[in-house]
Structures are given as structure tokens and as C-alpha cells.
């Protein structure tokens, strides 16, 4: 198994959160759901070099699919997650096939346009989605028929954490598979990859589908744990925030995605509890500070530090 130590650390940190903040499990669950979204962006941005400001379209597709299925009687949580993943993957294919027609800034703008169209569609289809009032009344059955999704949120959090660890392990396999390496190659130089005899478009599209599935799982988790799906889950704002979290943590490592999410959302939660009125300035200052101190994200900073220390010891990696 790739990176066993890392996975153990993630599970341990997750459990530590469970023991240390037993009263904040809903927040922690939300962090897990957003972490899945940020991971999904890392797949296309960090591994394939396709920057996107519209990933929430995929997250929202998963959330609404799970939500609508739940309202219509499919209340088993694992089934809902699966539905979310499939919906996310389909949305990912759609998004990829449009976005991959352009590059750079134009690509970024396409992603924005797509998420806005998704948002608009979700608003228009209020008969199914509840529009701006949100899709409410999701009565999710207890997990395995035993563990209910309740006020204290233990089930939701542990369920979410397990999903996250499971997805993380799966993604570790994906990014270290031949496909994953090929994606890294495409990110660096698509012309070289073509000269190696590999098509670029289908590979990227495949990654969009995987990314969509991951985002969709995140969306389904959000729907299950909140019991409401709102238009915010298909918004540009969520997409942009998630991208900021990713860049904050560092691209292309999967760990950076997790670290960025936890740090951004934890910091936001902390400062907005201390001062609910002016926390935005603090978050802004954090972002500026990170760019000044660690232009390649926090995981890049860690990398630099660890390299510096090993070099100091005269060791060779």
C-alpha cells in the first residue's frame, strides 16, 4: 500500500479531532466534506495542471443527486454516497469535455461559466432542488441500520472520516498508477506526452471523471450530514474558496489539499468565533502571509524546510 504512514497519520489526526473536539463534530464533518472537494481539485489542478474555479459544480451535482434520491425514498447512506459519486463523475465528464477545449485563463473562465450555469439550473429547477430555499427534509436512514445521523454528529463524522480515508487511499493508488504518472507528465508537458504516443484528452477526461466522483462523494456527505442541500453547494464562492485552500496547502501532493482545508477552515472558524464581524480581514492577512512566507503553499514550505534540514545534516535524499 502506498504511503501507509501518511494514511495512518490522517486517520490518527481525524480520530484526535474526534476526541479533542467532541462538541464540534458538525464543523469537523463539514471540513471533511470540503476536504473531499479540495482533494478533487488537486486531482485536476495539482496533477493535471488544469486550474478550475468551478469545481463546486461537481460537488453540488453529488449533493443534489444524493439529496433528491433521499427525498424520493432512497435513504440508505452508502447508496446515497454512491449516487453522489456517480452524479459527480457524470458532471465531471461534462465539465471536462468543455473545459479541455481551452487553456490557461480561458479555461479558468470556462470553469466559472459552467459553475454559474449549474447554479442557475439548480435555481430554476426548484421543483426538484428547492431552489434558493434549499432542498430540505432529507431523512437519512441510520448507517448499517444502527447508527443514526443525530444532533451530536458522531455517526456523520466517523462516516465522513472513513469515507475520506477510503478515498484518500484510493487516490494514492490512482496518482501512483501509470495513469497518475501520465497525468503528471501531461501537467508538465503535453507535447512530450503526445510524442510518447499517448493521447492527452481522454486521459484528462478520465481524471475529470474521477475528480467528479470524489467531489460528488463530498457533496453527498454534505447532504447526508446536513440533511439540507443549498444553492451554495454549486456556487462560484465555494469553488473559489476550495481552490484557495488547495493553493494554501500546496498542489499536487494530496496532503496539501487536506492540510489547506483544515488550516483555512479551522482558522476561519476560530477567528470568526472570536470576532464574528471582522474575521475576513484576518483570513485575508493569512493568505497574504502565506504567499510572502511560502509561495508554493504550506506543504511546499514543509518540503523546503525538510530539504534544508536534511542538507544541513549532509544527508542525501
Amino acid at each position: 500500500m502506498p504511503d501507509l504512514a501518511g494514511i495512518v497519520i490522517i486517520a490518527a489526526v481525524g480520530m484526535a479531532g474526534y476526541w479533542l473536539f467532541p462538541d464540534n463534530l458538525a464543523l469537523l464533518t463539514r471540513i471533511v466534506a470540503v476536504a473531499l472537494l479540495v482533494l478533487s481539485i488537486d486531482l485536476v489542478t495539482g496533477y493535471c495542471g488544469v486550474a478550475t474555479l468551478g469545481q463546486a459544480a461537481l460537488f453540488g451535482a453529488g449533493a443534489y443527486a444524493a439529496g433528491i434520491a433521499c427525498v424520493n425514498g432512497m435513504t440508505e447512506p452508502l447508496t446515497l454516497v454512491l449516487i453522489g459519486a456517480v452524479a459527480g463523475a457524470v458532471a465531471g465528464l461534462l465539465m471536462g469535455s468543455v473545459m479541455l477545449r481551452a487553456h490557461g485563463l480561458a479555461q479558468l473562465v470556462l470553469s466559472i461559466a459552467i459553475v454559474q450555469l449549474f447554479h442557475e439550473a439548480a435555481n430554476k429547477a426548484s421543483a426538484y432542488t428547492g431552489g434558493s430555499d434549499g432542498l430540505s427534509g432529507l431523512m437519512v436512514s441510520p448507517l448499517f441500520g444502527v447508527f443514526a445521523f443525530d444532533l451530536w454528529g458522531k455517526t456523520a463524522y466517523l462516516f465522513g472520516l472513513s469515507l475520506l480515508v477510503f478515498v484518500f487511499i484510493a487516490l494514492k493508488f490512482v496518482v501512483s498508477s501509470p495513469f497518475g504518472i501520465l497525468c503528471r507528465g501531461i501537467k508538465e508537458d503535453p507535447i512530450r506526452v503526445r510524442a510518447m504516443g499517448a493521447f492527452v484528452f481522454p486521459v484528462l477526461l478520465k481524471m475529470f471523471a474521477i475528480s467528479g466522483a470524489v467531489a460528488g462523494i463530498g457533496g453527498a456527505l454534505a447532504a447526508i450530514s446536513t440533511q439540507v442541500v443549498g444553492l451554495d453547494s454549486v456556487s462560484f464562492e465555494l469553488s473559489a474558496n476550495a481552490l484557495v485552500m488547495l493553493v494554501l496547502g500546496g498542489l499536487g501532493t494530496l496532503y496539501g489539499a487536506l492540510a489547506g482545508t483544515v488550516i483555512f477552515m479551522g482558522f476561519e472558524h476560530m477567528v470568526s468565533a472570536i470576532n464574528p464581524f471582522h474575521w475576513m480581514t484576518m483570513v485575508g492577512a493569512l493568505l497574504i502571509g502565506v504567499v510572502l512566507a511560502a509561495p508554493s503553499g504550506l506543504s511546499g514550505l514543509l518540503g523546503t524546510i525538510s530539504r534544508a534540514t536534511t542538507r544541513g545534516k549532509g544527508g542525501r535524499g
Partner: protein
């Protein structure tokens, strides 16, 4: 026919307002290669200064505009020195992180000092009256915005194509190291371009306030619109920005007239179509 003319003139005014705000961003992105998401924040700062000058200090409209431009530039100078210089040449995503951070800070600080209410910039009597243009009445202010837009487009074209600064700027953009070697003070060129871009944002923020009202969230609320307009036009191209603003203004206005319920669909579908056909924007610079 009357309806078409009427919509056309509305679209023109709205498009020109967008143009004045966006052209500065187009310059920073196209010529300086900085994805400055805080561009709207500068427009907003200018709006606040103008509103303060006109309402609280009782200055005239023209004086308020001037003060707003100068004030915004003064505020931007330390930002350029301390923050922006660190991200010239960085990856786009790093620039996004930094400029979103700046935007958040500006929003937070504005909210703190000026409160969350809408701010208006009172128009002089001559601009606030409806003017009869034959087939309908139109607010004089809209004609003023159109005139400003044309003036800005012409002025910038002259600056970039016809002055020695323009030559230095283009040389720096093409090859900064070479320009440096030829004795162009590239730092200064960047600083001046940045100042020009901020000044244009400021002008746009003030004269466009009738379309995009000034409030603390302005900087984020219209960020997407600005970004879309710039990339559709092609970053760095004046002609492209004019074309994009007019076209998107027309699509937006016509869409909202014909099928208001689906106004956003029209707008974003048009954006997708244009970007797919012109991946570099209408007149984007290669590379």
C-alpha cells in the same frame, strides 16, 4: 426599431461602464501577467473616496472623481511596493492567493471604517436628468459614461502605441531582461503601468457606480464579471476589451430584455461559446 435602438443604447452604456473598470485589469493581466483579483477592490476604494468627498466634504463631481483616482493610487503605491512586487512572475495560482487575500483585507477594512451600507456618489444636476435622445429618454449620466469609455480607449491607445513610455512598456512585456539590458527601468515601467491600471479601476469604480453600486462586498461580487470580460476580450488588448464589453453588454442586455428569466443562461452560454471559438479571447496576445 425603436426598441432595438433603445436596447442598443442601454447595452452601449453598460458595456462602456464595464470597459472602464475592466481595461485596467486587462492591462495588468495581459501586459504585466498578474492575475489581479483585487482589481475590483481598487474600484471600490475609489467609490468610497468619491462618495466621502462628494457627500461629506461637499466637493463637486469632477473634484470627487479626481480625488478618488489620486487617493486610490496613493493607497495602491505601498501595496505595489510591498505585496505586488513579490508576485510579479509567480505562478498564476500564487497570484490568485495573494490578490484574494488583499481583496478580503480591503473588504474587511472598508466594512470596519465605512459600515456595510450602500454608498452613493451624488451626480451633478446636469448628469442626473433624463435626456431626450429622440426615440426615448436616457439618463444623461449614461451618455457621460459612454463618452468616458471612448476617451479612455483612445487615451490608452495613444499611450501604448504612440508614446515613448508605450514603447518601453511593450519592450518590457516582450522581454523584460532584454529591456533591462537596453536601459529601460523595468521596475519603474511596472510601477507606472500598475498605477495606470489602478487609476483606471478608480475611474471606472466612480463613474460605473450607477451600474455597480458601491458597498463593501463590491470587490468580490463583480470579480467574476470582470475576469470574464477580460478573458473574452483577450488580456492586454484594448480593442479586445472594447469588443468584449460591447458584445457581452449586448448579450446581457438583449437576453435580459427578450427572456429575462434566462438572462444568466444567455450570458454564460455566450461566454462558453466565445471562449471555445477564441481560446485567447478576441484579440489576445499569443503566449
Amino acid at each position: 426599431m425603436q426598441t432595438i435602438l433603445s436596447i442598443a443604447i442601454d447595452a452601449l452604456a453598460y458595456g462602456m461602464a464595464l470597459f472602464i473598470i475592466c481595461i485596467g485589469l486587462s492591462l495588468t493581466m495581459g501586459l504585466m501577467r498578474v492575475v489581479n483579483l483585487a482589481h475590483g477592490a481598487f474600484a471600490m476604494i475609489a467609490g468610497y473616496i468619491a462618495s466621502y468627498a462628494a457627500r461629506d466634504l461637499g466637493l463637486g463631481y469632477a473634484a470627487a472623481i479626481l480625488l478618488a483616482i489620486l487617493g486610490t493610487i496613493v493607497i495602491s503605491i505601498p501595496l505595489e511596493r510591498l505585496l505586488y512586487r513579490r508576485i510579479y512572475g509567480s505562478t498564476e495560482l500564487t497570484q490568485v492567493l495573494m490578490t484574494i487575500g488583499i481583496t478580503f483585507c480591503v473588504i474587511g477594512i472598508t466594512n470596519y471604517f465605512f459600515g456595510p451600507t450602500l454608498k452613493t456618489i451624488p451626480l451633478p444636476g446636469s448628469l442626473s436628468q433624463p435626456v431626450d435622445v429622440g426615440f426615448r429618454t436616457i439618463a444623461a449620466h449614461r451618455l457621460f459614461v459612454i463618452a468616458c469609455g471612448l476617451l479612455v480607449a483612445g487615451g490608452l491607445w495613444f499611450l501604448i502605441e504612440k508614446t515613448s513610455f508605450g514603447i518601453k512598456l511593450r519592450a518590457t512585456v516582450d522581454n523584460a531582461a532584454m529591456a533591462d539590458a537596453l536601459g529601460v527601468r523595468t521596475q519603474a515601467v511596472y510601477a507606472i503601468s500598475f498605477t495606470v491600471a489602478v487609476g483606471l479601476a478608480a475611474l471606472g469604480g466612480v463613474v460605473g457606480a450607477e451600474f455597480l453600486p458601491i458597498e463593501p462586498y463590491y470587490a468580490l461580487r463583480y470579480m467574476v464579471t470582470f475576469l470574464v470580460v477580460v478573458s473574452v476580450g483577450g488580456a492586454g488588448s484594448i480593442l479586445g476589451a472594447v469588443a468584449a464589453c460591447l458584445l457581452l453588454g449586448a448579450v446581457d442586455t438583449t437576453g435580459r430584455y427578450l427572456m429575462p428569466d434566462f438572462g444568466n443562461f444567455f450570458f454564460y452560454a455566450a461566454v462558453i461559446a466565445i471562449v471555445c471559438v477564441f481560446p485567447r479571447g478576441f484579440f489576445g496576445r499569443a503566449g
